[in-house]
Amino acid sequence: MNGDDLIERILREGERRADEVEVFYARGLSVATEIKKGILGNAEESEAWNVAVRTVKDGRIGFSATSDPDRWKECLDAALASGRLATPQQWGGFPKPADLAGTPSAADGDLVVAVEDAARMVGELLSGAAEHPVEVVGGGADLARSYLAVANSSGVFYGMDRTVAAVSLETIREQSTGYEFDASPFLADIDARSVGEQAASLAARSLGGRDIKTGRYDVVLSPVAAASLLGQVLLPALSGRNVKAGRSFLADKVGEQVFDERLSVYDDPFAPGLGSTAFDAEGVPTRRLVFVEQGVLRRFAYDLKTGYRYGEGSTGSAVRFGSEGPGIGVHNLFIDGPQVKEPGDERAIWIHDVVGAHTANPFSGDFSVEISNPFWMEGGEPVEPIRTAMLSGNVFEMLGGIGGLGNDSRRVGRLTIPSIRLNNQQIIGK
């Protein structure tokens, strides 16, 4: 039974037993190659298949998922059974078919999921890394293609292709490590050689770092470090569910100046990116959403359930990961503003990455993390490595007054972000 037949069958059967039914379907093929001891170690190919069913009856939402086509009836039964336990809520129905507003940029027609192509990318990573005297300790290249579909008993049936090309490389020299990565829907975006060279350069140049004294310093967070910290704290604060539940620092601040006036935060689902899509994970057309405009908080993100519950309406922000039910998220989030070549040319500590970003307090924004590949930066250039230190602060306070944005925006997962200069930050030396 192909995917479309199965979806139709679940919809027909589900409609008999509930007011409404929704099917989310995904199938994918991917290859991954893994580097070991500086050469190609493992080669892996995955085929995956998943169906997730939601039923609605008298405002009660049920959910189940399966990766086994033979168990679709059991899955539908489980969704209905779970719906009987859910608290009933205000519900206005699954979306009806609509004209999709934009064109997503999520699939590369030329990307072939072939292990030989992934192996060639590994070769490029390694040749880039060979430009510096380091050992390669890990990394790899992945290629994937998937098909997603959302269908419901109101007549929606949207499908789309997604592709991903991803590389990463991990290097070491003595006790100095370097890690770099890149991922895009488009194979041509990936410069594996340059990723390899960067990873090696970080380890080679970080060698022999000197200690730093505890105190307050100006710092520049690279796009990677900034994405790690902000992703952990800012994303949950923009979720309408957290806002309404009293779990968001930004709740009740719409219309207020919450960040530096140079900062804007928006979701552009039509920009090329890993989350690019014209419809969200429950079939609502996506649109460009401005969350923060020149520092002023404009809105939050909602899915259908939260939108109906609080009379806010969905913003097309539903996303799904794995075989879980939909939740509120972002598609392609941009953190943007006027960028300068050097985010302030005064001496500062440049921080490539942080260790332990996930331990930040998502409600208060407080964090203290170990920093990776820190350098003294002068005239916009990292000049001298620092051995090791911690950075402590508060993400919301940091965004309240920044020192400037670099012109080096890059994509880190679903975020696109430049380097951010922050003055007078707490550094804890050894």
């Binding site: 190609l40 080669a43 190919e45 086994d68 779970s82 070491i172 990776s372 090791t388």
Partner: protein, 442 residues
């Protein structure tokens, strides 16, 4: 046909039940199903690995077809791997006190709601609780004629309470997961504790970062053991040259009396009856009396590195096995808790864990406490929040000055290589000298 030196197939068919209650609203309460298989073939050099849904492991023809496809993948690899011989055998799965499958979803939801409600103490504005139950039926066979099957049952919950006042928002969280039966009855005290911690943190101070004496509670000391020592002793990282503990077997890496163990055979949350390569599991002493004595291995890293114990291969369902910890802990010493506080004199007591991360090549780790207290004149003083600890693996273990006698294990999940597996870790109270404490207080 491409060369096949060895193959194995591991199938996991199972169910996941989740109940999510947010501020009194049952957001979801349901069961999902999966059936995943991983086929590995060792070709003339390295591994070719296939991941598939719904493989008929009893069909010879299907197995042959998959092995051939994996062998074609293996043919592109260049790294020559060998597999060490390892003991085989399956431990009995600990008996279930109460089988979660005998409890209906409605009762589970009601019991979880009781825990969530208990978290709503005065001052708490938001509560959330989740129940997670996993039933895995595992089947394994390999080309050497080994075959095993077992069933794993996991049941537990987490509860989070958030208190806020004057723009300050603080969180308390508790969790408890087990492999030995249904785990939701009579657990309201976990909810209450989460609520009380959240409220008391509203008045807690943010400590000033710097170097101090620190007392770690058993839960945080367990995470410290896992992050600071466990990962760096994993044979794959050692083989790749990505661990500071590489080449250090027989060397003193910690204080006298320090014993660090990984034991997959303990009936704690990280229990496995046999590893993901069909190898028998046993207690492994990573550190014996301060001396690095063993790495944790799978068959491949044992062959390449030596100096250690196999049986530490683990995998999430639908993912290939990698070297992982299971139940990791520091053995009891002889210091009483009061003695540790007294000896600390002035410092900080760190309690609970919000997780951690390690860069094993650089030898640096970081992790966060849920909260803590100042220690003044050997006694517990004011409460602190948003405090973390970082350090270097090679110096920190020498800085353990006292080892308590009150070891406790805590359940959790460990992420590595994109896979998450259940683990537990623990330790007695520890006194650390020269600890680097992160905090943004002035």
């Amino acid at each position: 046909m491409a060369e096949v030196r060895y193959y194995d197939i591991r199938c996991v068919r199972g169910e996941i039940t989740l109940v999510d209650i947010d501020n009194g609203v049952v957001e979801s309460a349901g069961t999902s199903f999966f059936d995943k298989a991983v086929i590995r073939v060792l070709g003339s050099k390295g591994w070719g690995v296939l991941t598939r849904d719904h493989v008929d492991i009893d069909s010879k023809r299907e197995v042959e077809r998959l092995v051939e496809a994996a062998a074609r993948l293996a043919a592109v690899t260049e790294d020559h791997l060998d597999l060490a011989d390892a003991p085989r055998g399956v431990l009995p799965v600990p008996p279930l006190g109460e089988d979660p499958r005998d409890v209906d979803l409605e009762e589970k939801t009601r019991l979880l709601a009781g825990i969530e409600e208990a978290a709503r103490v005065a001052g708490v504005g938001n509560t959330r609780a989740r129940y997670t139950e996993g039933i895995d039926a595992v089947r394994f066979l390999d080309s050497s004629g080994n075959e095993y099957s077992y069933e794993a049952v996991r049941s537990g919950f987490s509860v989070v309470a958030i208190a806020s006042r004057d723009g300050v928002m603080q969180m308390g969280s508790e969790r408890d997961h087990i492999t030995t039966g249904f785990n939701l009855r009579n657990k309201q005290e976990f909810g209450r504790k989460a609520g009380e911690v959240a409220v008391s943190l509203l008045d807690a101070k943010i400590p000033k970062g710097g170097t101090k004496r620190a007392v770690l509670d058993p839960e945080l000391a367990g995470v410290f053991t896992h992050e600071a020592v466990g990962h760096a002793s994993e044979g794959d990282l050692v083989r790749e040259g990505a661990s500071v503990l590489g080449g250090k077997i027989g060397e003193r890496i910690g204080c006298a009396g320090l014993v660090i163990v990984d034991d997959p055979s303990l009936p704690e949350f990280g229990f496995i009856p046999v590893d993901a390569e069909g190898v028998a599991v046993e207690r492994t002493e990573i550190v014996r009396d301060g001396i690095l004595s063993s790495y944790l291995h799978n068959r491949e890293t044992l062959a390449a590195v030596g100096n250690g114990v196999p049986g530490h291969a683990r995998s999430e369902h639908g993912a290939p096995p990698i070297v992982r910890m299971s139940n990791t802990f520091i053995e009891n010493g002889d210091a009483a808790y009061d003695e540790i506080l007294e000896e600390c004199r002035d410092g900080i007591l760190l309690i609970g864990s919000r997780g951690g991360q390690v860069d094993p090549g650089r030898g640096v780790f970081q992790f966060n406490a849920e909260y803590g207290y100042f220690i003044e004149n050997g006694e517990k003083a004011g409460m602190v929040r948003d405090v973390s600890l970082s350090g270097e693996i090679l110096s920190t273990l020498h800085n353990i000055v006292l080892i308590g006698n009150d070891r406790k294990m805590s359940p959790g999940y460990c992420g590595k290589g994109g896979q998450s597996v259940p683990v537990s870790d623990g330790a007695p109270h520890l006194l650390l000298e020269n600890a680097t404490i992160g905090g943004r207080g002035e």
